[in-house]
Amino acid sequence: MEDGALIQRIKSGDMDSLERLIRKYYGDVCAYCCRKLRRPDDAEDVTQEVFLHFCRHFESYVQRGKVKTYLYTIAHNLCVNAMRVKKPLPLEDVKMENFTRQSGMEKRWETTDSVQAALNRLPEEQREVILLRFYQDLKLKEIAQVMSSGLSVTKYRLSQGLKTLSRLLSREDWL
């Protein structure tokens, strides 16, 4: 079902549609929070808070863009708040087994390690643009919306981020 139809149903008090919407976006929002906060437990808490915020302020929600973009905007703001309270874990403290449970291949472990290290070395805004562009598949316009910044600034941050990332990963011979 289209998001627009789901929103209309939720507005009329259909709880099943609300559940469907949460199920549809929970995974994506949780993955985004997890990459941003680098703590899976905190990511789940923030994801929960994203959907609760969405429900509590549903009255003020006007569907102009995609629901997904709106959810990422809430997630972005809540993650920023969470990071103010609790600094993200340094890479060496992150238990890598959590992040590579699926593969188990040594090579992949190393890759993940390098990618994470490279991402962590990026300035926060550039890192954010890359996360939203490559992991969440958002368009530049949508990223600008989520980050409350201009389109040209977002393009600039992406190109700078890619350059830095490319340089960092080249050093590790991954590109």
Partner: protein
């Protein structure tokens, strides 16, 4: 897409995140549903939105009775104008119709009491005071609209007597409302509505009788009716405020359970 960007994208895919906990998803769904339901209850409502909502709860019969009364009065007034009847007939009609306009509204204000619903209404979303205040405001405005329309049509036939028309229309109406409000303040219960109806019918009969006696109507020229008009206006205002306040006095401490206005 540039080669470099594609390579970066491929490399970035290796940074996977753990699968989310299905229990966390279930908990989120449960809490979100709860938050959504609570939002409906905690939703703040504007004063006019509340009044518009209450208009829908006024019985259809009240509007129909009010409209029928108004149309009948306008029809009779038109007949008087066409026949060029004397002004006493017009005054007679105005004086007798005014208490009937009040007669239509008062039982509706008291419907919570006449149906023994005051206990339920006092503990629901809006306080009894807000509810009764809204009903009084809506029906009062409807009455005022009817009276103004009747006065306009009457004055259109003979504008020379407009001041006397105002007096003959509003003094009976004000006096009837004063008596009903006094009853409302002191006796509130299942039979208060009936008491108001009896008062309205009594006032109609009284003013019907008075209007037949020419000397009482002549008193208007001496200013007695003007005095009545002012006194009844002041008393009605005071009594309306007292009745409005008394609703919270009789129904718990008020406001605690009710939704706040913006």
């Amino acid at each position: 897409m540039k080669i470099n960007e594609r390579k970066i994208r491929e490399t970035l895919t290796s940074f996977s995140v753990p699968a989310y906990d299905p229990d966390a998803l279930r908990q989120t769904i449960r809490l979100a549903k709860k938050a959504y339901s609570e939002r409906l209850l905690a939703k703040r409502i504007g004063c006019w939105e509340f009044i518009a909502m209450q208009v829908r709860f006024i019985g259809r019969g009240v509007w129909l009775a009010q409209a029928a009364l108004l149309l009948a009065c306008l029809y009779l007034l038109e007949g008087f104008h066409a026949e060029k009847a004397d002004m006493q007939s017009v005054f007679l009609l105005l004086s007798s119709i005014a208490p009937l306009i009040a007669f239509v509204g008062f039982p509706e204000i008291l419907k919570s009491y006449s149906h023994n619903m005051e206990e339920i209404e006092a503990c629901t979303r809006f306080s009894m005071r807000k509810l009764m205040g809204a009903r009084m405001l809506i029906l009062g405005l409807a009455d005022l609209f009817s009276l103004t329309l009747i006065l306009t049509v009457s004055a259109a036939g003979n504008a020379a007597f407009i001041l006397r028309m105002i007096l003959y229309l509003f003094v009976p109406f004000n006096l009837t409302c004063c008596l009903c409000m006094t009853v409302l303040e002191h006796f509130r219960g299942r039979y208060a509505g009936y008491a108001c109806e009896v008062i309205c019918v009594g006032c109609t009969v009284l003013f019907l009788r008075l209007s037949l006696l020419k000397k009482y109507y002549e008193a208007a020229a001496t200013g007695t009716w003007m005095l009545f008009f002012c006194l009844s206006g002041v008393y009605l205002t005071i009594e309306t405020v007292r009745v409005f306040r008394s609703f919270s006095r009789t129904c718990f401490s008020d406001e605690t359970l009710s939704a706040k206005w913006k």
